[in-house]
């Protein structure tokens, strides 16, 4: 089967790749583009470890075909910090120790960023519901929720 040639934008950069029709966007990011920040947890859309933004929508990259990225814009965890300067969410995750093994962290950060862009002042309940599609087996979620709320406070003040 011939490979599909895809032209897309990843973290603001024009990117081209070849993929098999069955390859997911997650496969392409990790295996073709060497952007390994997005993780494969469940590969069935349940855990959120592969969360990315696709044309401004939060999605699971494991449930998108690589070929679907044609002409669209993808944002991954690799685009979150500005050079050496961490995004406030990334900083707050460190300050609150909102991660242990770290596999879920990129997905949580992408999902939390999408929330704060839509709702800069979420309640704890809103944070918990928004992040219900991101699973963490280490932290018990509390530290993550506190980190997101703290980042939201800081970002509103700046």
């Amino acid at each position: 089967m011939a490979k599909i040639h895809v032209t897309t934008t990843v973290n603001g950069d024009a990117v081209e790749f070849l993929c098999d029709p069955e390859q997911t966007l997650l496969d392409v990011l990790r295996d073709e583009l060497e952007l390994t920040g997005s993780k494969e947890g469940c590969a069935s859309g349940d855990c959120g470890a592969c969360s990315v933004m696709l044309d401004g929508r939060l999605v699971c990259a494991c449930l998108v075909l690589g070929a679907e990225a044609e002409g669209r814009g993808v944002e991954t965890i690799e685009g979150m910090a500005t050079g050496d300067e961490l995004h406030p969410l990334q900083r707050k995750f460190l300050e609150h120790a909102a991660l242990q093994c770290g596999v879920c962290t990129p997905g949580f950060l992408i999902a939390a960023k999408a929330l704060l862009e839509k709702n800069p002042d979420p309640s704890e309940t809103e944070v918990r519901y928004w992040l219900a599609g991101n699973l963490c087996r280490c932290t018990g979620y509390d530290k993550i929720v506190r980190a997101v709320l703290d980042a939201a406070t800081e970002m509103r003040g700046s």
Partner: protein, 286 residues
């Protein structure tokens, strides 16, 4: 597997009708990709319909709204006019999966995946929604309750695609609601789902009603006896009790890890009543 993303409906129908092996439509992909990755299906052709303009739109039509087959749950939820006219349908769609799933999943995909437990389907059936189906023989309009015929099976013929759903106009004093029971607060499959839509006259008497149930039979059910229990009443305690009895009586559920037969039958009655009470409050408020 061949991947195609045609830009016209004719091209999509042509591809699907001409397919020699297994062909699948890709809208949001939140069911298809899971089936693909788990090896449950091995399609020879996947037709991505997201580049077809009419599939991507929500359009006002004769006082109602036509929802394109590739409109995501997130996009539908952000459409304030649809939410105002059919709050129960929009809430049902928004119950499907996580924020990430909402970014992709579509109402038509939920319908065509043909799960008896699909959340949006009882709400659509209660709303008397109509699916617009296009195939090699042209276009036909099909009531939503006639699409899913068995778990994972639809009444669509080879080459046919559901292109949109029409949520019809409604008279004043109308309301709808959908409730599901799951043992958690989020991210689960319905043990039972119940959708109710009703219309009152100026005196507060119910003049039209529809009840639909999910996850209590091999397909989502329209329950005409539920409607009969409400029509002509003021949706008082006695009418709600009749509705509840009618809902339970219509159930032909299975026993599985999510719920027993007895439990589902009981919960269907409770949810039908509660959904009717919410629909009633909404009808009185507009």
């Amino acid at each position: 597997m061949r991947y195609e993303a045609p830009e016209s409906l004719d091209a999509a129908v042509g591809l699907l009708a001409g397919a020699t092996g297994l062909a699948r439509v890709l809208a949001g992909g939140t069911d298809l990709l899971v089936q693909l990755r788990s090896g449950l299906i091995e399609p020879d052709l996947v037709v991505d319909v997201k580049k077809i303009p009419e599939m991507r739109r929500i359009t006002a039509e004769n006082g109602g709204f036509r929802i394109g087959a590739a409109v995501s749950g997130a996009e539908l939820g952000e459409h304030s006019e649809v939410s105002r006219l059919w709050p129960g349908v929009v809430e049902a769609v928004e119950l499907i999966g996580s924020t990430q799933i909402q970014g992709r999943a579509t109402m038509v995909g939920n319908l065509c995946n043909a799960s008896p437990a699909a959340d949006s389907v009882p709400a659509m059936i209660a709303a008397d929604a109509v699916a617009s189906v296009v195939g090699p023989a042209g276009r036909r309009e099909v009531p939503v309750e006639a699409i899913c015929i068995a778990p994972g099976e639809t009444s669509l013929a080879k080459g046919e695609i559901v292109t949109s759903i029409l949520l019809p106009a409604r008279p004043p004093h109308s309301g709808d609601a959908y409730l599901r029971f799951i043992p958690r607060t989020e991210m689960d499959i319905a043990v039972v789902g119940a959708g109710v839509s009703l219309t009152l006259d100026d005196a507060g008497v119910c003049r039209a009603a529809r009840l639909a149930l999910g996850a209590v039979a091999a397909r989502p059910l329209l329950v005409p006896e539920g409607a009969s229990a409400l029509i002509g009443t003021r949706v008082d305690e006695a009418a709600l009790a009749h509705l509840s009895t009618a809902a339970s009586a219509a159930c032909k559920p299975i026993d599985d890890k999510r719920g027993t037969i007895d439990y589902r039958i009981k919960v269907a009655g409770v949810l039908a009543r509660r959904a009717a009470q919410i629909a009633l409050e909404r009808a009185r408020a507009n």
